[in-house]
C-alpha cells in the first residue's frame, strides 16, 4: 500500500522540489522521473498477473461526502502506469537539446502532470478519478500555452474549454451515479453493482463517452487536436499524444464499459461507426499534409480510432489489442515527435517538401526513424503489429464490414508514413539539409531506447499480454454477466 502512495506522490514531491531548483531543474526532474520509473518497475515486479486489484489504498478523505482516497492497481492499470512512468523520463530526456526559458516551471509542470495521470490510472473512487483528470489538464494547458508556438493562446483556450466541457458533463454523470448508489459513496465496485435501466444507462453513456471521446480524440470531437499538437512545444505534444490520450481510452475501459454495459450495448455501434469514420477521415487528411508534425497528429487520430473501435467491439481480442496498442502507440508517437523535433532543431522546418536526403548525412537518425516508422505502420516484428493485428481481429469478430474499413488504416498508414519518410530522409540533400548533423548524446540514448522497445515488444510481446490478460478477461466476464441480468 505504501508503495502505491509513493508511486503517485513521488512526482508531486519532485514537482515541488523542481520548482525551486532554478537552473538545475533539468537534472532534478530527470532524477525524479527515473526514480519513478524504477519504482514502477519494482511494483510491476511484485505484481501478480491475475485479475485482482493489488497495492490497494483506501483512506478516508472527505468522509461526509463519501469521498475516499481509494486507489489500486490491476493488470489494466499496471500497463498504463508503466507507460506513464516510462515515457516521462524519455520526454524529459528528449528536452535536453532545448533551452526553455524558466526551466524550473516547465519541468515542475511535467512532473505535476505525471502525478495527475497516475491518479487517473489508479483511482478506484470516481471523485478521485475526476480530480486526477483535471489535475492532469491544468499543467498541460500551461505547458502548451507558455512554451508553445504561433497562435498558442487561442488554440489552447479551445483545447481547454473543449476538454473541460466534456469533463463537467462527466462530473454530472458521476454525481448521478453517486446519488443512485445506496451506500452514498464513489466507490467503483458500488458503481459496478448499480442496477440502472437502459434509459439511465443511455444518458450516462453519453455523459462519459463525450468526455472520453474529446480526450482521445474520436471523430467528430477531434477538431482541437491537430492545432494543439502543432502549436505545443514538442514535450507538450509528446505528453498529450503519448500519455494523455490514453486517459480517454483507459476511462472507457475502466469506467464506461463496466458501469453502463447496457448503454454500451445500445449505443456502442454509434461509437464504433464514429471511430471508423475517424480512421478513414484522419488518414485521408494525413495524405494531404505538408507539415510532418500535422501528418503525425492526424495519423494519431487514425490509430486511436482503431483502438476505440477495438474496445467497443467488446471482445477479448479487441480489448487485449487495445492494451498492447496503447503501450505501442505511446512509445511510437513519442519517437516520431522526437525525430521531428530533432529535425526542426537543426533546420527550423518540418515542411516535408523542404527536406530530403537527411539519411545521407545522418545515417543513425535515418535508421532509428525507419524503425519507428515501421513500428507505426505495424510491420510484423515491431510492436505496432501485435496491437493492430489483435484490434483488427476484435473488430472482425464484431462485423466484417467494420474490419474491412478499419483495416484501411494499416494500408493508408503505410502509404503516408513511408512517403513522408521517403521525402524527408531519402533522395538528394538540398541546401538546407546538407549541413545536417547526426544524433548525439541524449538524442542517441532516447532514440535507441525507443527502437529497442519497439523491437523487443514486437518480437516478444508475451509479458505485456500476460500482464493484462486476466484483468481483461475478468472485466469482460463481469460486464457480460451484468448485461445478462439486465436483459
Amino acid at each position: 500500500m505504501e508503495q502505491l502512495l509513493l508511486l503517485i506522490f513521488l512526482p508531486l514531491v519532485g514537482a515541488i522540489i523542481t520548482a525551486f531548483a532554478g537552473k538545475s531543474a533539468k537534472i532534478v526532474s530527470t532524477v525524479f522521473s527515473v526514480v519513478s520509473l524504477v519504482l514502477a518497475l519494482v511494483i510491476a515486479g511484485n505484481f501478480i498477473p491475475n485479475a485482482s486489484t493489488q497495492f490497494e489504498v483506501n483512506l478516508p478523505w472527505i468522509a461526509d461526502l463519501g469521498i475516499n482516497f481509494h486507489a489500486g492497481i490491476d493488470g489494466i492499470s499496471m500497463l498504463v502506469v508503466l507507460l506513464t512512468n516510462l515515457l516521462v523520463p524519455i520526454i524529459i530526456l528528449s528536452s535536453y537539446n532545448h533551452e526553455y526559458k524558466n526551466p524550473a516551471a516547465f519541468y515542475a509542470l511535467i512532473l505535476f502532470m505525471q502525478c495527475g495521470l497516475l491518479l487517473v490510472f489508479t483511482a478506484l473512487d470516481a471523485f478521485l478519478f475526476y480530480i486526477g483528470w483535471e489535475a492532469a489538464l491544468i499543467p498541460i494547458y500551461f505547458i502548451c500555452a507558455i512554451w508553445g508556438g504561433k497562435d498558442r493562446i487561442r488554440i489552447n483556450m479551445k483545447f481547454f474549454v473543449y476538454t473541460i466541457a466534456g469533463s463537467l458533463f462527466m462530473l454530472m454523470g458521476i454525481i448521478y451515479l453517486y446519488l443512485q448508489n445506496p451506500a452514498h459513496n464513489f466507490d467503483i465496485q458500488a458503481f459496478y453493482a448499480l442496477n440502472l435501466d437502459s434509459a439511465q444507462q443511455g444518458w450516462i453513456f453519453w455523459a462519459f463517452f463525450i468526455a472520453f471521446a474529446i480526450k482521445m480524440p474520436v471523430f467528430p470531437f477531434h477538431t482541437w487536436q491537430p492545432d494543439t499538437y502543432t502549436a505545443a512545444p514538442t514535450q507538450g505534444t509528446m505528453l498529450l499524444s503519448g500519455i494523455m490520450l490514453k486517459m480517454g481510452i483507459y476511462g472507457v475501459i475502466r469506467w464506461l464499459l463496466p458501469i453502463v454495459p447496457a448503454g454500451v450495448h445500445d449505443w456502442g455501434q454509434i461509437a464504433i461507426i464514429l471511430s471508423i469514420i475517424g480512421i478513414v477521415y484522419a488518414s485521408l487528411i494525413a495524405f494531404t499534409q505538408k507539415d510532418a508534425k500535422r501528418l503525425v497528429a492526424y495519423s494519431s487520430i487514425a490509430h486511436v480510432g482503431l483502438i476505440s473501435a477495438g474496445i467497443f467491439a467488446f471482445n477479448q481480442q479487441g480489448m487485449q489489442g487495445a492494451m498492447v496498442q496503447m503501450l505501442s502507440h505511446g512509445i511510437n508517437v513519442v519517437g516520431l515527435f522526437f525525430v521531428l523535433d530533432i529535425i526542426f532543431s537543426r533546420v527550423k522546418t518540418n515542411k516535408i517538401e523542404e527536406l530530403g536526403g537527411i539519411a545521407k548525412v545522418a545515417p543513425q537518425l535515418a535508421l532509428t526513424f525507419l524503425i519507428i516508422v515501421l513500428g507505426t505502420v505495424a510491420l510484423p516484428g515491431t510492436n505496432g503489429f501485435i496491437g493492430e493485428f489483435l484490434l483488427l481481429i476484435g473488430v472482425y469478430n464484431y462485423g466484417i464490414w467494420a474490419a474491412a474499413i478499419a483495416g484501411l488504416t494499416i494500408i493508408f498508414g503505410a502509404v503516408y508514413m513511408l512517403r513522408m519518410y521517403q521525402n524527408v530522409m531519402l533522395g538528394e540533400t538540398n541546401s538546407l539539409t546538407i549541413t545536417f548533423t547526426d544524433i548525439k548524446g541524449t538524442e542517441k540514448l532516447v532514440l535507441y531506447t525507443i527502437c529497442a522497445l519497439i523491437i523487443v515488444l514486437g518480437v516478444y510481446p508475451k509479458p505485456i499480454l500476460h500482464l493484462t490478460e486476466a484483468s481483461v478477461q475478468h472485466l469482460l466476464e463481469q460486464v457480460n454477466q451484468k448485461l445478462n441480468t439486465v436483459n
Partner: protein
Amino acid sequence: MNIIITISITAFIVLYAGLFKANKALLPLTVVGLLTALGFTFCAWNGNAVHFGMMQTDNFALAFSGICIIGTLLIFLLTQNYFHAKSDNIAEYYTLILFALAGMIMMVSYKNMAMLFVGLEIMSVSLYILAGIRKKDFASNEASLKYFLMGAFSTGFLLFGITLIYGATGSFDLDKIQAYLVNSQTISPIFYPGVILMMIGLSFKVGAAPFHFWTPDVYEGAPSLITTFMSTVVKTAGFAAFLRLFAGALAPLHDFWVAPLMVIVCLTLFIGNVTALFQKNFKRMLAYSSISHAGYLLFSLIVLTKNSENNVLVYAAAYTFASIIAFAVLILVKQKTGSDSFESFNGLAKRNPLIALCLTVAMLSLAGIPLTAGFIGKYLMFLNVMTEYKTLLVAFAILNALVGFYYYFRVIVAMWFKDGAETELSAPAQYKVVLLVSVAITLILGIYPAIILNLI
C-alpha cells in the same frame, strides 16, 4: 451579542482616535477589536443563545459572522497606504466599515424581522457614504447616488413585504412565522405577495438579476477597496440574511417561492456570465462575475436539503477569499499602471511571479477548477440540485460555468502568456500576508474541505 458590542465599541474608539489625529494607531486598534470579536464568535460556538427574542447566535449565524469578520480583517490589512493617499480623515473609513460590519452581524443572526431591517439599514447607510467617500470624484459620487436610490427603493420593497407578512401572521418573529405556516389550515392571501416582495427586496441587496443594474456602476465607481468590501463581505451577509429567511422560516412554503427563485437564478447566471464575457475592464468583469456568483449561491436554495445552508457557507467562503485576492492584486496593479483594463495585467508573471501565482489560484477558484475551494463550492451546489435530478438545470449551470472559464482565463492569459511593461511590481508586506493567507485558505478548503462541511 458580545460580538456586536465589541465591534461597535471598536468603531467608536477608532472614531475618537481619529479625532486626536492618532492615525498610526487606527489599524492596530481595529485589528485588536476584530480579533476580540472573532474570539467571542468562537466562544459562542454551539451556544445557540437567543438575545431578547431579537437575535439568535446559532452556529449558522456564528459561521457567517466568522467569515464576515475574517474577510473584513483581511480588507483592513489592505488599507496600508490606500486611504492615506485619498483623504485626511481616514478614521471615517475605519469607523464606517466597522459600523457596516456590525449591521451585517445583525443581518446574519436576526430572529426578528425588525432586526433584519435595522441591520440592513445600518449596513446600507454606511455603504452609501463609503461608496461616495471620494468627494471630488465624479464616478464615486455617481456610485453613491445610484447605490442610495436603488438601495432605498429596495428597502421599500423589503419593508412592504415585512408588513404584509406581519399582517398575515401578527408577528415579526421567524419561529412564529414558521409555526403559522406549519399549523394554520389556510394561509392568508396577503402572505404570498409579502414573500415575493421580500424576495425582490433581498435580491436587490445581493445583486441578483433582474435587480442587478446598480451593481456594475457602483462597483466600478466606488474606491476599489470599498468595492472589495461590498462584493465579498457585504454580499456574504446578504446571502446569509436571504438564507435565514427562506431556508429557515419560509421553508414550508418552498413549493411556492421556488418558481420565482428559479427564474431569478437562471437570469442571474446567464446575464452575469454572458455580460462578464464582453468586459474590457478587469474591475467591471469582477462586478459581473459577482452577479453570476450570486446565481450559484442561490442555486442551493432550489432544492432544500439539510445541507443547503452549509453549501452556501462553503461557496461564500470560497468566493470571498478568491475575490479578496483578485481585488488586492487589482489595487496593486492600478496603483502602478493607473489602469484596471486587462492589458495592464500583461506580463505580470515576469514582473512579480508571486502575485501572478496568487491571482491565478484565485481565478482558478472562481472558475471552479478542482483542488481549489471554488470547485468544492460548485460541486456542492450541483450535488444539492442533482438530489432531485434536476439535470437540465445543472446542465444549464455547467454551460454557464464554461462561459466563466473564458473570462477568468483571460486574466491568466494576460499575466503569463503576454508581454507587458517590464517594470518591477512590488507588493507591500501586508498585501503579501493577505494574499498568502487567502491563497492558503483557498487551497486548504479545496484539498481538504471536510473542516468546513458540517459546520452548520
